[in-house]
Symmetry: C2
Subunit: 273 residues, 2 copies
């Protein structure tokens, strides 16, 4: 979901539009991040920072923490660095690195933070073990992921089910897992984290919540689905007419129906030696 959460930042040209998108981003930020704040001076690793959408939130919420953000893609790192610079958040160190083989010594971070990364990995368990390695004993891991299989809506149609299914299947074809939210607990058990706590973060949208209809249904979820149109049609998963119908049907829930999605936030601890 990284790419579409980014939209809220990328699309900030017009000051009015920018303010509205900021409000939307902040609504979701509150749901996902309100209970994460790292102490001043603590060493925090953000693994898989992408273009920095979550890094800006981390920087704003934990201004005194010593933050390191890594990503495997050099161009993402460059964009993230520029974004943080524009926001005047200078206190983040960026490193290009593979999260399965981090260039850091054992036990050198107090906390590790991961948001919308594991969904893209074919072997998330290996990365979790590596994150545990660089975490000091007693340190914490926080993971936030979505689960596209948690989506449903009213009215729901065969076409709207199908376009969402395409998104899930494309992620699977690319080696990822768009249904990873439901797997966080067993994944963290297998990676030997302790004191696990997983909480669902539920987005429920109906016409009494117009800011969520626009901010989440339209500009986050439907925009994300719409973004894979060419891939889905190109790979023969769906025909163009059904695709258009599915996107229209999703949009038709706004103003009269309901929209449902669940994120998951997991925390765990590396046991003391």
């Amino acid at each position: 979901m990284e790419q579409t959460l980014n939209r809220s930042y990328v699309h900030g040209y017009d000051p009015v539009e920018s303010g509205r998108l900021d409000d939307q981003a902040r609504t979701l930020e509150e749901l996902l991040h309100h209970d994460t704040r790292y102490p001043d001076g603590s060493r925090v690793l953000e693994a898989g920072c992408g273009t920095g959408a979550q890094t800006t939130i981390l920087a704003r919420r934990s201004p005194g923490a010593l933050k390191t953000a890594v990503d495997i893609a050099a161009d993402s790192i460059a964009e993230a660095r520029q974004r943080l610079g524009l926001l005047g958040s200078e206190g983040v160190r960026f490193d290009r690195a593979d999260c399965a083989r981090l260039p850091y010594a054992d036990s050198c971070f107090d906390h590790v933070f991961v948001c919308f990364m594991l969904e893209h990995l074919s072997r998330p368990g290996d990365v979790l073990l590596e994150l545990r390695r660089v975490l000091k004993p007693g340190g914490s891991l926080t993971v936030i992921e979505g689960d596209h299989g948690s989506f449903y809506c009213y009215p729901q149609t065969p076409a709207s089910e199908k376009v969402v299914r395409c998104l899930i299947d494309l992620q699977a074809a690319g080696g990822g897992d768009a249904l990873i939210g439901r797997r966080l607990y067993p994944l963290l058990v297998r990676a030997h984290f302790e004191d696990l706590r997983v909480t669902p973060r539920v987005v429920y949208v109906d016409p009494s919540r117009p800011e969520w209809e626009q901010g989440f249904s339209r500009h986050t979820f439907i925009a994300m689905v719409a973004g894979v149109e060419q891939d889905a049609i190109g790979q023969g998963m769906i025909d163009a007419a059904t695709w258009r119908q599915g996107i229209d049907d999703l949009a038709a829930t706004i103003g009269r129906g309901t929209f449902h999605y669940t994120f998951f936030k997991a925390t765990g601890r590396k046991s003391d030696p």
Copy 2:
């Protein structure tokens, strides 16, 4: 979901078992009912009380309210009356009545309460209009319903998806709607209720929550699915081997996977004249 919530009460022979089931019922009760309490002396109608599973909760949580419970089935009313009597809750009047044609004057109740009833109706909107008729202006309606389409689990298999689908299809074949939770907001709009507020009540289960694994996953949800085995196989929706596999796969999530279900609670008000 009425039938399986009832299990917690029906299966209360052995005192140890009874205590455990009471704990389970209370966990779910807290999630669904914690924010419903009616003032002393207010006139409350429970529409579709069935065998009284929710009536006992209503009676316990609003002991001073003047409660009337109605159901269309005479034998359910008899069982509900007996259950309430055994619990020493005498302050409930029971009437046998069709909720689409209630034997009450306009505007004679302060509050109306509905739990796990609309899912069974082919025309829930008509019943909501009738409930509005007997509600006094300014009075409140509270509706609690599940949504079986909100269910997912990990690991999830084709067979486990199929047995849950059978439950949904059987309810549809009987004229009901097991996906009604997502529809509450538009239904209440169409029935002219105002000040609507719908909140999801999310059950998230993983091995760190063994009381939910037993109380919800095993003894509520899986038990409810298992209860329609004969109908599903008899109507040719599924073969016996796939059925068994599906139930086994659902049970296999316990102790290692995750289980997800969402109830919905809606409140609305009849506008002042």
